[in-house]
Every structure is written in structure tokens, then in C-alpha cells.
Amino acid sequence: MRERVPRGADRLAMVGFWAAALLVATLFAWLVGDVLQHGFAHLSLDFLTANPEDAGREGGIAPVIVSTLIIVAICMTVTVPLGLGTALLLAEFLPASSGQGRFVRRSLDVLAGVPSVVFGLFGNALFCQRLGLGFSLLSGGLTLACMVLPYFTRTAEEGLRAVPQDYRTAAAALGLSRTGTIAHVLIPSAMPGLVAGFILAVTRSLAETAALIFTSGYVARMPESLFESGRTLSVHIYDLAMNVSGGDGMAYSSALVLMVLLIVLNRSAMWVSRRWSMKRVVAS
């Protein structure tokens, strides 16, 4: 039992995986390094609490942050129940090979590939005009929900499918109702999948630009209701980078804020889910 240096394919694989990871990490460091380098200059407490001035070249991004949070919240409030319901239907109620299941799944996969500009134009036509919501946080959130639905649903579905059959057998043998089984056994067991879906959906909605320009709009005022227009961080970044000369620095700073926001949102989602599934574990 001498010290064993991995041989042949095993060793190659190990080197390969480390290399792949390093490559991704390097590219990431490069990208984020750029953002950090350009972004730190304008970062201050003022930046977080002030209104944008001079088309965003001066001032801060407070209303933008607030609008972003509201839109993401609307989006997730719609996506999670809807997506979870659909995922349950696909994984638990329809046989894997059923035509209906396939149809729904296919729809979702197609939805994932619709360009965000098209979502924007569609959301504008449906929510802003047909449903009369106008340019508003609500229209934006709902359009985003349509867009991220497949990410959450498909990931959650896979999570549910991977729950060992043993648990379903045990639950059935105890005469647990379908709802009881789902709520108390399946969902806690499928938590990794649900969290993954949630993360994908949140990140995607935070990073979205084109779908929001046409729905939640461009107004950088502090929103007072859900029916008002509001600019999100990524729209702001887009505007500064592409449309405002001399906006680059502020664009990078905003990107920095966006990234911090993202980490905070995702970590708290994980924390909540852990708390929640712990509560299921820790008795009564």
C-alpha cells in the first residue's frame, strides 16, 4: 500500500477537471477584475442612497436598486408557485412518457430559447397594452416571470424526479395523501433541485435588460406603487454603457452592486430553504 499517485486516465481526468475549473476561475477573475477595477472608483454610501443625476453620470442608484428588488420579488412570487405546481404535475402526476407531459416540457424548453427582446415586445403587447398595466414594475415582473419560468420549473422537476422511489413507496404504504406526501416528504427531499432552480431564476431575472426596457421601463424615479415605471440595475447599466457618453464608470459600479445583490439574494434563499427544511426535520 504505497503512496498512490493516480495513474493513466484517472490522473489525466484529475488534471483535466482542475484545469477546467482553473480556466473558468481565471476567466471569471479577469472579467470581475475588470469590473472591480472600474467599479470601485464611484462606490460610496452616497452612491447607494442618492438619486441618479445628469443621466446617471453623477449621483447614485437608490431608486434603481429599489425597483430591481421589487421586480425580482414580483417575478419570484409568480414563478415559484407556478413553477413548483407545474414541476409537480410533470414529475408526480403525469407518467414520464405521457403525451401531455412531453408537450408541457417541450413548451418550457422552447420558452427558454425565446430571445429576451421578444419577451420584451410580447410583455409590452400583453401586459402593458392588452391588460392595461402600462409601463410598470408589475408588467416587468410578470414578463420576467414568463421568461424564467422554464429555468425554475425544469430544474425543480429534475429535483423531484430524483427523489428515491423508496420514499414514495413508504409514503404510499402509510396511506399518506398525495398532498401530504408532496408537502412533507417530496419537497423537502427535492430541496437541492428547488434551490438550484431558484438561483437560476433569480440570477437570470437580475441580469435581464431587453425584456425590461419595454415593460418596466426607463424611469429612474423612486417608485411609489407597483403600477409605476421603474428602471432596474441592468437597464441602468445598459443605458450607461451604450447610450450615455462617459457612463462607463458608473455602469461598472452598478454592475458591482448588482453582483453583491445577487450574492445576498442567493445566500438568503439558501439560508431560508435550509431553515425551512430543518423545520421539517426538527420535530413538531
Binding site: 428515491p164 413508504a170 404510499a172 404504504a173 399518506l176 401530504g180 421539517r280 426535520v281 420535530a283
Partner: protein, 270 residues
């Protein structure tokens, strides 16, 4: 089958224990036949042992009785099967009520990925049994019945998956018992257990006689002989299971009619 909320479990009598009647029951998974034309009468309140070689369809037979076969895609059950006179295989029966009345312990321990306590509380809550205190009592009782109480009473809030194999199996038995079913299907309940736990469980099963109709699959022929009132021997021919012989345990062990049974009983070791 009627819900029997009133009346303590231990005060139940043979009259409450449904008999099980199988008439030419066959099970197939897709195209493959698991077993064929099994006709068997299980007396209410008695202990019936199912024995036979691996793969002859014992588990599949048990699964018909509480319709767990529904969970396997492509699994088809044919024939007649009644529990307490009511057909089990009919469409549209109340499956939850059936399964509440017919408890089952499967071959592989399968506790939920929840805490020990929650594993036991979940079925009670789901079936709306009792208030908090009653549930607490029932849970403690069930854990004592399988000899697990002392081992786990300090870590009821820990995950059931951090238990040893035998502990998990006993937890699953307790989980079935906590609902006080009228019929209990046990698929090799003691196979993962050491003699002491095995003895505890066996004693408990014996105590349930006359309060509960019990069907137990066991590879331990000595155990079958010790506790079963009746024994059914399954066999397999060209990959298909069938019922070789059934009858009172004493007769099966002492005067088997079928030479194959005789050989099987002979081969009994330990």
C-alpha cells in the same frame, strides 16, 4: 372496511380483523410475469408466513394487498383479491383508507429523510390522529414496542438517516405500528436485525395476533415455524412464481404434501 376511530387498539378483537382472500391473482411487470394464479386464504387475526426462494414473488404478492403495485409503471395485477370482504383491486376504492388499515413494512428500511420524531408524527398528523399528547404517547409507545426508545430518546430531532441499518428498520416498523393498522404486512422485518431486536419485534408481532391480521415474509423458517399459524410456500418455475403449498404451519412443517416443500423444509439450517 370501516374506519374504526373509537376503541383502543389493544382492545380490538378477532372480529375486527379482516381476512384476506386471493383468487387467481397474477402480477406482471410489463411483459414479465412475477407470479401467476395465486389463490390463498389468510384468516383474520392470524399470523400467516410467506416463505420461498428469492425472486418468487413474495414481495410482489404483499404489494397487491395494499395496492402498492400501483406505484410501478407497467405493473398489472389480475385476479380477485379481497380484504375483509371488500375488493382491493377494484378501481376507485379509497386507497388512503385501505393503506391506513393495511400497514406495510418493506424489505429495505426506508425512513423519510426527516427527523426520527417527524417520521413517526407525519402519518399520525396526516390521518388526523389524536391531539398532541395522544400523538406523543403513541409515538413513544411505538418506539418502545420495537425496542428503540432508549436508543434514540435523546436524539429524536436528528435525521433518521444517521441511524444504523437495524435502527432504521425498527424505526420503519414503529412508523407502521403507530397508525394501529388492522392488517400488517411485514416483508422480512427481522432480516436486518440482531437477535435481541429481532426477538423484541417477534414478540411484538406475536402480541398482535388476534388484534391484527398479519402476513409476514420471512427467510427464517424457524421463525415461521415459531410464530406463524399458517404458512404459504411460494416457488418459482422458469422465472415465474407460483404458490406451491399452503396450510397450517404445523402441517406444512411436519407433513408437507409436496416433495419440493419437504426438501425446502429439510434444507432448513440453524
Amino acid at each position: 372496511m370501516v374506519h374504526e376511530e373509537g376503541g383502543g387498539f389493544m382492545s380490538a378483537s378477532v372480529a375486527d380483523c379482516p381476512a384476506i382472500r386471493a383468487d387467481k391473482v397474477s402480477v406482471r411487470y410489463g411483459k414479465a410475469l412475477a407470479f401467476e394464479d395465486v389463490s390463498l386464504e389468510v384468516s383474520g387475526g392470524a399470523i400467516t408466513a410467506l416463505v420461498g426462494p428469492s425472486g418468487c414473488g413474495k414481495t410482489s404478492f404483499l404489494s397487491c394487498i395494499n395496492r402498492l403495485t400501483d406505484l410501478y409503471e407497467g405493473c398489472v395485477v389480475s385476479g380477485q383479491l379481497t380484504v375483509g370482504g371488500e375488493s382491493v383491486l377494484a378501481r376507485g376504492i379509497d386507497l388512503l383508507a385501505l393503506r391506513r388499515q393495511v400497514g406495510m413494512i418493506s424489505q429495505r428500511p426506508n425512513p423519510f429523510p426527516l427527523s426520527i420524531w417527524r417520521n413517526l408524527e407525519l402519518p399520525l398528523r396526516e390521518h388526523g390522529v389524536g391531539d398532541r399528547t395522544e400523538r406523543q404517547q403513541r409515538i413513544e409507545q411505538a418506539l418502545r414496542d420495537v425496542g428503540l426508545w432508549d436508543e434514540v430518546k435523546d436524539r429524536l430531532n436528528r435525521s433518521a438517516h444517521a441511524l444504523s441499518g437495524g435502527q432504521q428498520q425498527r424505526l420503519c416498523i414503529a412508523r407502521a405500528l403507530v397508525l394501529r393498522p388492522r392488517v400488517l404486512l411485514l416483508d422480512e422485518p427481522c432480516s436486518a436485525l440482531d437477535p435481541i431486536s429481532s426477538g423484541v419485534v417477534e414478540d411484538h408481532v406475536v402480541q398482535l395476533r388476534r388484534r391484527c391480521t398479519i402476513v409476514i415474509v420471512t427467510h427464517n423458517l424457524a421463525q415461521a415455524r415459531r410464530i406463524a399459524d399458517e404458512t404459504a410456500v411460494f416457488w418459482t418455475r422458469e422465472g415465474r412464481g407460483y404458490l406451491l403449498e399452503s396450510g397450517p404451519t404445523a402441517r406444512i412443517f411436519e407433513a408437507p404434501q409436496n416433495p419440493v416443500t419437504a426438501a425446502y423444509i429439510q434444507g432448513l439450517r440453524g
